[in-house]
Symmetry: C2
Subunit: 134 residues, 2 copies
DNA sequence: TCCTAATTCGTAATCATTCTGATTAAACTA
DNA sequence: TAGTTTAATCAGAATGATTACGAATTAGGA
């Protein structure tokens, strides 16, 4: 499954660096939203001196090509590995960031209600505490 | 209608200051999400030296008591006057921040789908360009 | 192996937001 | 109305996330 991400990098002419691969590994290994700080602390096990510039740059780059998805929580951007299957949304634990899939999305009803206005995107996020954190 | 906000301040033992009243006036006068910077530039007409501390403090305070509502756009918190009628969401213009009401909200379907997990809150935001900005 | 553009590094800068300690003023009381 | 109390404001420093920059390194192709 990591190979699929290597593909995506190649498709966009991005080099396969050790930092990028480990970054993907970290996010792919935990289905939750993580802050840059959390991510750097996980990467620090492998690259103790990795630059924040590298982390932020790659979070942006990989979000741009659809490997990650992002959301703003508590004034900080958080990232998770992207869901590539079908359109859906997430429940997000406000304590630990862990996510749970939410299938139902009435985007066509919303588009109907809006009429002419063109919908570029939409955000649906459900918040609460996961079973562990409750 | 400004009187209703004065009530709310009194109910929470908050003083009626000139800054607070003008802040409410500014947000109530334009049904859109505004950043702290935008807000301070509007307030500057009346209070050229108003402190950012005053702006941020009051944005928080008034959001806490339900006078304003907030959302994070582009890494910046944005505020608008709260909708006090019934539960609903908004379409938000990505250029100018103007909002349009979206009535349909399937929160009970989502709660059903989630089962046990307790839902604390939810965010639904539809993005695009308003007629003016399109 | 060599070249070159992309990537990373270390660090400084930026920008939104928060904090602090001193000053002001709203609201209550006499 | 004057006095008292305490919340609110102010100016400016501090914080914390994010971005920028010039120099050094490296992936990937020739
Ligand atoms: Mn998902
Ligand atoms: Mn709703
Ligand atoms: Zn949790
Ligand atoms: Zn607009």
């Amino acid at each position: 499954m990591i190979n699929q991400y290597k593909e995506q990098l190649k498709e966009h002419n991005l080099k396969l660096t050790d930092k990028r691969l480990k970054l993907i590994e970290v996010l792919a290994g935990d289905e939750k939203y993580m802050s840059a700080k959390e991510i750097q602390s996980k990467l620090a096990d492998y690259f103790p001196t990795i630059s924040y510039d590298t982390i932020y740059r790659n979070l942006h780059t990989l979000t741009d090509i659809g490997v990650f998805e992002q959301t703003s929580l508590d004034q900080e951007m958080h990232y998770k590995i992207a869901c590539v299957t079908h359109h859906h949304h997430h429940f997000i634990c406000e304590r630990c960031g862990v996510t749970q899939v939410v299938e139902y999305c009435p985007v066509e009803k919303w588009q109907n209600e809006l009429g002419d206005v063109k919908l570029n995107s939409h955000k649906v996020e459900l918040y609460g505490y996961c079973e562990k954190c409750a």
